[in-house]
Symmetry: C2
């Protein structure tokens, strides 16, 4: 099974993120894109639209019903590094594909993920990890993921809380409920530089739930999609909450995943 070298793990722990190549071939990327297309086309509450009411912003929970994605999240190439970083067995808390649509996809304001999972889903600790696969090339023009190295070590930041809605939809739009404002970002960038995650389709990117991140507009003529799997440690099962989000946003099944012997999802 694929694991993280000690050096890579140390870098992940220090910076809160790690860029890596896990050998996703062009053919595999093509398969993932086709699987993604089928999810984007299917009308479902798990599909979130942009403010324009017609452009698909993201799909969620596809691993629950899409066989290819069910195998992908159990692929040793993703699950192995996740288990290595978490130090033990894990399950998928959240699965999503964010489409930054050409010239229509909105920004993701600067934020940390954990506060959403803690306050929304009852996750006790930030003992989880995001594993992202670029489904399209990411570059300076198409709104790449931007991160603040080391910011995961600051804990949960006191964020601007926008709007009064408690609906889960407000956690998934460009008006994020827990966003980091400009003065706080100014503070955070005083001693750390913003890093853009760029690279070819198939590149993998791990990041900590407390890492401060965001992304700008896609000014290119083509869509720029990222597939994101959030693995949570089985030692970190969420507490019950009053108004749980739908299962496609917050897992109900905490069974540890078994890495697939044969690493294939098509």
């Amino acid at each position: 099974m694929s694991v993280l070298a000690n050096e890579a793990l140390a870098s992940y722990q220090k910076n809160g993120f790690l860029e890596c190549e896990l050998g996703f071939t062009d053919v595999e990327v093509k398969v993932l894109r086709e699987l993604a297309d089928s999810e984007f086309e299917r009308d479902s509450p798990a599909r979130v639209l942009e403010k324009d009411g017609r452009t698909v912003r993201a799909v969620h929970g596809s691993h629950l019903w899409n066989d290819g994605f069910a195998r992908l999240v159990r692929s040793s190439r993703l699950l192995g590094p996740a288990m290595a970083a978490l130090g033990g067995p894990a399950y998928v808390h959240q699965f999503k594909i964010n489409a930054k649509r050409a010239m229509r996809g909105d920004v993701w304001p600067w934020h940390q993920d954990f506060i959403f999972w803690k306050l929304g889903d009852g996750m006790p600790e930030a003992k989880a990890i995001n594993v992202a696969i670029l489904l399209d090339e990411a570059n300076d023009i198409n709104g790449p993921l931007l991160v603040l190295p080391g910011s995961h070590r600051l804990g949960t930041l006191e964020t601007e809380r926008r709007g009064s809605s408690d609906k889960w939809e407000s956690h998934l739009s460009a008006d994020l409920k827990y966003a980091i404002d400009a003065p706080m970002l100014a503070d955070l960038t005083r001693d750390r530089d913003i890093v853009s995650i760029k690279g070819k389709a198939g590149k993998v990117f791990l990041f900590d739930p407390q890492l401060v991140h965001g992304s700008g507009a896609n000014m290119s003529p083509v869509d720029r999609r990222i597939l994101l799997v959030t693995y949570n440690s089985v030692d970190n099962i969420p507490d019950p909450v009053a108004n749980p989000r739908p299962e496609f946003l917050a897992a109900r099944d905490f069974t540890p995943l078994e890495p697939l012997e044969e690493d294939s999802f098509n």
Copy 2:
């Protein structure tokens, strides 16, 4: 008087833009920023807000009432290259400062300028030039100006016409009336790469009214302002139009400007 070297002029004509250093010192940039601040603070119809109704997106026509800017547009450092590119005397058709406010400033969709001046202001030909000064550093994070080299030679492109409003305000928002859509941008980028105009505050950038350009979101914690002066040739005086835009958007005075002997605006 400052003029353009033949080589620089040839490059401008070939690519439709030219990046240059015209010796704006840190002290001069500071003065320009202070002049800009005073315009941004002053309530006026020439001040355009973002969709949020409170963030200033741009100010217009400041050279008509602000002495410092009145001298700036007559500065031989700006007027000289403009006259060289236009091949003769010129006046200011439009003056604006676009503020891409930190984390609040919206995108500028891909567009050409000339169609607005032609249809809105009766400008006969694209015999004008934009001279831009970066008032803040422009980099990949803060939504730099993006251009398509050589696109000015394609003439006026058939654009997507959004909305039905004939109000001039619709020409100045992120929902630009004459915007280039994704399929057209895909066509345009088949044989040309998108170039970002980056650099330190004080850098100057000349571009053709037919050059396809736009800019993304400002994901940095600081504002990123550009001052833009549109010089028009006195051989290219606009024809009368039915509903002229306010003078702060479209000049009424076509007197050719005399370059100032002493090049100072503070």
